[in-house]
Amino acid sequence: MTIRRFWSIWQNRLAVVITALFVVVALAAPILAPQPDPANPSYFKVVGQNFQRIPEPPSEENILGTVPQITNLPMFGFIPGQDASYRWDVYFSLIWGTRSALRFGLLVTLATAVLGVILGALSGYIGGWFGGLLMRITDAFLTFPPIAAVWLIRRLFFQQINNPFMMPELLRPWELLLARWQIDPVMIALVMFSWMPYARLVNSTISQLKTTEYIQAAESIGASHARILFRHLLPNAITPAIVLAARDVGGLVIMASAFIFIGIGGNVVWGVILVTARDYVIGIGGNPLRYWWTFVPVTSALILFSIGWNLLGDGLNTLLNPRARR
């Protein structure tokens, strides 16, 4: 019944279609854009010669044209021979970038949500001075912009990983793990400094519900703390957190792209393509569309991605939150 209600609103249908589209593209990436060298997979396909510095318009070979890559960014598998300039196929990175954006968005959102919900549930259920202290700590974290953390984390933990001349054998085990799972400073910083809304939300819901009669009833029949928390309290607190999480996915990917854009690191592929396209957006003679293929497809994908997850969040809100249902 509720599913039918959900489906009857066109915004919700749009949201499901968009997010499903991105998931399908991400899964079908090897079919849509075959890797030129399957043994050595990459998010970028290098085409053209060293001296080609003008973006090529869409052609049969490169469906969405190319974008020149002038300098080698050491964060994406440094290739010593190719440190001059070459061009990237936009279409290839657009398709594979879907995979990278989904991976980044879902991973970071999941980690923040889990962290926030656990801390919020603990502080809400235990309450007292401990809960108060935990909430003050949450408020303290709120004052910290993640951008400053990116720098510090990069400086402290990624010095060796980002060093292009470092031999993999010399990396410490945890550094190898970070490199293998492609975890970058931006990811860590965003997880560390965006769990607070979840904690506040879950904390306020649980501390409100804790004194209600049905919880007292559960206590009086001798239910354990764990049972009360997981069976009776969390299901009520988790739905707003899910809505928040769905709305967060798109925003996080945009923020990560912005971090790449201003040059402080990260490896969301769309962001890398956009920072490469920077000089061509400014264009010649004030016409931003002169080299449209360098940024329009990827920007549209980014906007669509964000709109899709935002709409999905709104839809889930009307589905899960009885007060917003009208």
């Binding site: 951008i147 400053a148 990069r154 506040r200 201003i262 004030g286 016409n287």
Partner: protein, 356 residues
């Protein structure tokens, strides 16, 4: 009187916040080996290239002098002591004292932030209320569409497109901070009273400098405001929709009150709370946004320290750490103002009846 008590309680929370953040940051730092952390205390300028033996000796001297091999609390206390005494280290990238560098760049960033906040908060509240009051109508449809676009367009692409049209194409709004020669600003006749070019121009009787500064600020302010305006407007709208279905609104209308008075004196005051809460949650992301916009529009504010410091060949730990501490000091005033506004809007909060 209760308000005063509330104020005192809020102000007492500031040291706690600072303590938590600095302790977490320092816990990060401590994970690095002492030899690496000695970079925090390097002397200002290396007179000549040192030999390995000399460097080793210097490292050992620093480790002993600053107790880098002591347990965490001792080191933390030492470090905080240094911070309080204004000793934030020396940045090799800029070859300047870190605190001095940060203070020098602050007015630039603060000016941009201040004007954006002054623009986006009234606009966000008004448009949210207008859309929420007549939700389902045409205003609402237009608002929802713009707000969705506003949150979804990456600010850096918007900034680039604006630059391409209004700077390179039409030449209306230049980049950078000011078109006035640096010499003019440093002359003895031009006193930097506030550090804000827009105000200093007026105070020094040079309205042309003010106008020029505003021309430079127009695009950054617009880019920065759009996304945050959209978020604030959407929260206000949702809160308004929730409020206007309540019975007190119906009764106010039944008594024949004017629409304007029902909206602004009744519904809006209650809808303000969620809006302010959401602003508190996004205060830090506003500062992040400021840095992004500064880079795009080539404004040499605090963000330049990040972009240069990260790309620097010599690892600039003192600046990275100083910047992290400083950005907390930057966000906190915003949070405190929002907190106080919340308490003004809701008497229950300042009476301590409900928790924030």
């Amino acid at each position: 009187m209760t308000f005063l008590k509330f104020l005192i309680r809020r102000l007492l929370a500031i040291p706690l916040t600072l303590f938590v953040i600095t302790a977490v940051l320092f816990a990060f730092i401590v994970t690095a080996p002492p030899e690496e952390r000695a970079a925090l205390y390097f002397p200002p300028r290396q007179p000549r290239i040192l030999t390995d033996v000399q460097i080793q000796a210097m490292l050992e001297r620093i480790i002993v002098e600053h107790g880098l091999d002591k347990p965490y609390p001792v080191q933390y206390a030492n470090w905080v002591n240094d911070l309080l005494h204004g000793d934030w280290g020396w940045s090799p990238t800029f070859n300047t004292d870190v605190l001095e560098l940060l203070l020098l760049r602050t007015p630039v960033t603060a000016e941009l932030t201040l004007y954006s906040v002054l623009l986006l908060i009234p606009l966000g509240l008004i448009s949210g209320v207008a859309a929420g009051w007549r939700h389902g109508g045409r205003t609402d449809a237009i608002f929802r569409f713009t707000a969705f676009l506003g949150t979804s367009i990456p600010p850096f692409i918007l900034g680039l497109i604006l630059l391409s049209i209004f700077y390179i194409g039409l030449r209306w709004f230049p980049t950078g901070r000011s078109g006035v020669l640096d010499v003019t600003l440093r002359r003895a006749t031009f006193t930097p009273y506030t550090g804000f070019l827009t105000l200093d121009g007026l105070l020094n009787g040079r309205p042309d400098i003010t106008i020029d500064a505003f021309r430079h600020l127009a695009l950054p302010i617009f880019t920065l405001s759009l996304a945050h305006w959209a978020t604030l407007g959407r929260v206000t709208r949702a809160a308004m929709i929730e409020e206007i279905d309540k019975e007190y609104i119906t009764s106010a209308r039944a008594r024949g009150l004017y629409n304007r008075s029902v909206v602004w004196r009744h519904a809006f005051r209650n809808a303000l709370l969620p809006a302010l809460t959401s602003s508190i949650l996004s205060a830090a992301s506003l500062v992040t946004g400021v840095f992004v916009v500064e880079v795009i529009f080539n404004i040499k504010g605090l963000s330049e320290l990040i972009t240069k410091g990260i790309g620097a060949f010599t690892p600039d730990t003192p600046l990275a750490l100083g910047f992290a501490v400083y950005s907390v000091l930057l966000v906190m005033p915003i949070m405190i103002v929002l907190d106080l506004l919340k308490a003004i809007a809701d008497p229950r909060l300042r009476e301590g009846e409900i928790a924030s």
